[in-house]
Symmetry: C2
Subunit: 582 residues, 2 copies
């Protein structure tokens, strides 16, 4: 019984597969057809963005989808190449491949393999919490900055020129140096494609609804705008032989399926790309899990984050051994998949079959597809990710969180995607430690007529000169241990009449070894000053742990169950006065 | 008035100087004489440990002490060269100096200058919280490991051989390769010195007390053991001309005071040593401030951590421009200074004069001082820092904190001081984020006959199927935002009858932008599942901030002032049953 449930945990296909029926099959196959049509130009475009040949995008959309269907828990999640990961792949292979004598394609395969192994290990060791390092302000800043980088990097295809660079400055310098060589037919195709895509994105669905297409179909069909643009520009280019007028086209794409080959695992290359693979794994997982959870919630289904790590890990390993590059769950295509009625991950496997069929039979038709059209689909897709409102909201909500967003954006733009992410993560952690290093704490007094204690600065409460009660509203750990020492110490040196200090701990959820040391230190320093140190309202689990230390033996005072009991014993007059006050 | 108090903040000498009288003068000068005698062999020994000529240790004990007397707030703190910082200096200059064509002495000066500037900037910008990154388990692990490294590195002097290395393995390999060349007279002096130092350390004070020396004097005099050993071994070496039998001696020490010179500031060298200087600054400040606070507490005096950063910064800059190397407050000498009656930082300035006088008149007498004796004083001093009990206590108190200690020890021993510190700091932060990434939270129900709510797993409470209340006992921030999403989501998908989810927040001290996003996400996902989302018992400052976001407009439910009010409205039957139960 236990073995069966473990098996189902690792192979979710056993769970939904057992209940699979013809109704689900029809839904899944319908969704798969729509997603396939959408995924073909996307795969080509994202491969181009990753500086890889177009077929690599198609290969990354086959085996990984089948593997995710077996191991994934997101029922409607559609995996494959996505924009941000493609940009990160381009950056990773550009500084890894040249020196090592290894080609871009092989480097990308190694990257997928590494990233897949990392995700798999994280999933098996339940290290999913590592993605928590990517705070929301960092992710949103990163999406904005990388979208800008992506859009700018694709402009060379719209202009029909060659340029390069991985930071905003390099890209703009390179573009402006080459802009004189702009190819006019390419520019026309590119801008027309962008205009068409922008308008279909915003208006096609309404148009379809107005001509009587049902709501169920209008949404997915409207997402087919890019396909229409691809077909039209390909036909125009083919008919007028624009490739001979200097319009760069996709050209020959190898026909047939990829073979299974493990890339050459060069140790130097692996060391060089390990950090890139790690960042790609984190970003890939974060975007994928959030899409999966959003869609699952709509049907009250459950996504298992650890199993998702395993599934994405295996899918990426699949990409790495079949000539692909790193993949993850895509937002737009998953929504299309969901809206088109996909009920199980089988829809993904059917999509993979669709892509395979297309790779075998349709690639010759892609010969005349202009690169400018693909660039236009990328630019339109990523510009929708730049959401100024999110930045504004973060600014309004918290200047500190906004600082993390702004840093991520600026560093990503001027120093590239990897340094940008790292800078954002480091700053988030530093700011968090800074915030908790000065926890909210208050000197409290007793509310007359009650047994309650409140901040002396905000309430009309009673205190006396011999007992000082400090309430700390935060767990005590290494980042704030010293603050507490300083605080207690300042209060004691300012009040010569003091005999007792009580630390009131109702909001202390943890005391780590550093804070324990600080409490020992406070206790012994107060002892040398002739002041007794007490604790009150210590939570159960915290008390259990303190009993394993020697603090309680050294403590000059007591641990009181309630602050009122402390006052009753240490300042009976004060307790009486407070009760008489009612 | 305000200007005067600001002036006094930055020049604490104005505060205590105004009340200076002849009584304080006598106390300070007495303490200064004792500390001077103790500091001379220490300065020479620590300079040797830092791979620097002996006079550098003396120079580091002059101007820096005067500067600390002007700017420092620790009344009895004695600054100068210390063991751990000397070891870190040796590591920093060994990998910085050779390639650059710059000598060790100049590199050490640059290091002191850099470290001083960093401390000064940290003090002026009130960045003292940065030292919080060094958790107690990391510091204690670091002290243990660096003490072992120091003791092993000094063994070559006890044996009279030459060896090198900066990790335990390198040191041991180098020692065992050379052990055949041991110089017997040196070995005898070294081991006899160690034996003498160990026994005076443990028994001299008792002996002095038993022969009628008063308690006030016995303590400081017992600390003079090293001086006696220095004098005796120097005399023996001089009389029997043991330097001609291969006993390495201190030799010629330049007579006279150091001149003020700014070292050549080579940009490559600065870049290379910046991280070493930063780590030295942190470790130096942490050890110094804790000594200062411990001593100040005994007299109910106050130490200002930000001003201490300024003072140590200026003192280190002073060391950097007068041929010295990084310094900080030393534990042993400060205790001697305090016990000998030092009342103000003037004692430090008098010590500096003492060292200057010694440098002018006594250095010729140090010619025959065996290096083995200095090594013995270092070994005996650092071995007392290795405290197995601290490790045992940490192990017992928290396995997670122990992991940080153990990692710091192992990495320091096998990869050196800098990587050891960095590994410990990174692991502490990761473990902290891991711990808070899974905060304690409980589903709560109402206690019959009351308006209180308690954990359903621990108490006999009432609940119903349509309302679920989750209480989270931790601030919500990026490390646990996703956990909350997963948690709520699991609970909702497990209970199909659910209509309301209430998040009870009495222990939530902060909601950052990531957690806000998660709440928005939870709200909108629950909405698609037809479940209403409410908050209760949100603290004032947290609520103030939430009002600046759009969560409250999107919220499908309400924010209740108390959890009881939530139940009264969402499950009136349950509230009635609970009240009737009394």
């Amino acid at each position: 019984m236990k073995a069966a449930s473990t098996l189902k945990r690792f192979f979710p296909i056993l769970e939904w597969g057992a209940a699979y029926n013809s109704r689900a099959f029809v839904s899944d196959i319908t969704a798969a057809i729509i997603v396939t049509v959408m995924l073909i130009p996307q795969s080509l475009a994202y491969a181009m963005l990753a500086d890889l040949p177009p077929e690599v995008g198609l290969y990354a959309s086959m085996l990984p989808l089948v593997l995710y269907a077996i191991f994934g828990t997101g029922r409607a999640l559609a995996v494959g190449p996505v924009a941000v990961i493609s940009l990160m792949t381009a950056a990773a292979i550009s500084h890894a491949a040249p020196g090592s004598g290894i080609g871009y394609v092989e480097a990308a395969m190694v990257l997928a393999l590494l990233s897949g192994l990392m995700l798999l290990v994280m999933g098996l060791m339940r290290l999913g919490f590592l993605v928590n390092f990517l705070s929301h302000p960092v992710i949103s800043g990163f999406i904005v900055a990388s979208s800008i980088l992506i859009a700018v990097s694709q402009f060379k295809y719209i202009l029909g020129i060659t340029s390069s660079g991985s930071t905003l400055i390099e890209l703009i310098e390179s573009l402006s140096a080459q802009i004189g060589k702009t190819n006019v037919p390419t520019l026309i195709i590119g801008t027309a494609s962008m205009a068409a895509l922008f308008s279909t994105r915003s208006r096609l669905k309404k148009m379809l609804l107005s001509i009587g297409v049902s709501e169920t179909w209008a949404g997915p069909l409207a997402k087919g705008g890019p396909v229409a643009v691809v077909i039209i520009t390909t036909l125009i280019t083919a008919v007028w032989h624009l490739d001979q007028s200097g319009v760069p086209v996709v050209g020959q794409v190898p026909v047939g399926l990829p073979s299974v080959t493990v890339p050459h695992l060069d140790m130097a290359l692996i060391t060089h790309m390990a950090s890139s693979a790690f960042l790609i794994s984190l970003i890939g997982f974060v975007s994928s899990i959030s899409v999966a959870q959003t869609l699952a919630a709509k049907r009250r289904q459950r996504v298992d984050p650890d199993q998702e790590l395993v599934a994405l890990g295996i899918a990426n390993i699949g990409a790495g051994v079949t000539g692909g590059y790193p993949i993850t769950g895509g937002f737009a295509r998953s929504v299309v998949n969901f809206d088109a009625g996909a009920e199980t991950p089988a829809a993904g496997a059917f999509t993979a079959i669709g892509i395979a069929v297309a790779t075998i039979f349709l690639t010759p038709l892609l010969y005349f597809l202009p690169k400018a059209t693909l660039a236009a689909t990328i630019i339109v897709a990523v510009l929708s990710l730049i959401d100024g409102k999110v930045l504004l909201h973060t600014w309004r909500y918290s200047k500190r969180d906004f600082a993390a967003t702004a840093t991520t954006i600026v560093v990503t733009l001027i120093a590239g995607v990897e340094l940008g992410l790292i800078a954002g993560v480091v700053l988030s952690i530093v700011l968090h430690l800074y915030r908790t290093s000065k926890p909210h704490c208050a000197i409290v007094g007793i509310v007359p007529g009650t047994e309650h204690f409140r901040n002396i600065l905000r309430h009309n409460v009673l205190t006396n000169d011999t007992v000082l009660t400090l309430r700390v509203d935060e767990s005590l750990y290494f980042a704030n241990a010293r603050f507490l020492e300083d605080k207690v110490y300042d209060l004691v040196s300012a009040n010569k009449a003091l005999k007792h200090v009580v630390l009131m701990c109702p909001a202390v959820n943890e005391i780590d070894a550093s804070a324990l040391e600080s409490l020992e230190e406070i206790n012994s320093r107060l002892k040398t000053s002739g002041v007794t140190f007490h604790l009150s309202e210590v939570k159960g689990p915290v008390m259990d742990r303190l009993e394993r230390s020697s603090l309680l033996q050294h403590l000059t005072g007591k641990v009181f169950l309630s602050q009122y009991k402390a006052i009753e014993e240490l300042a009976p007059d004060l307790a009486r006065t407070a009760q008489a006050a009612e």
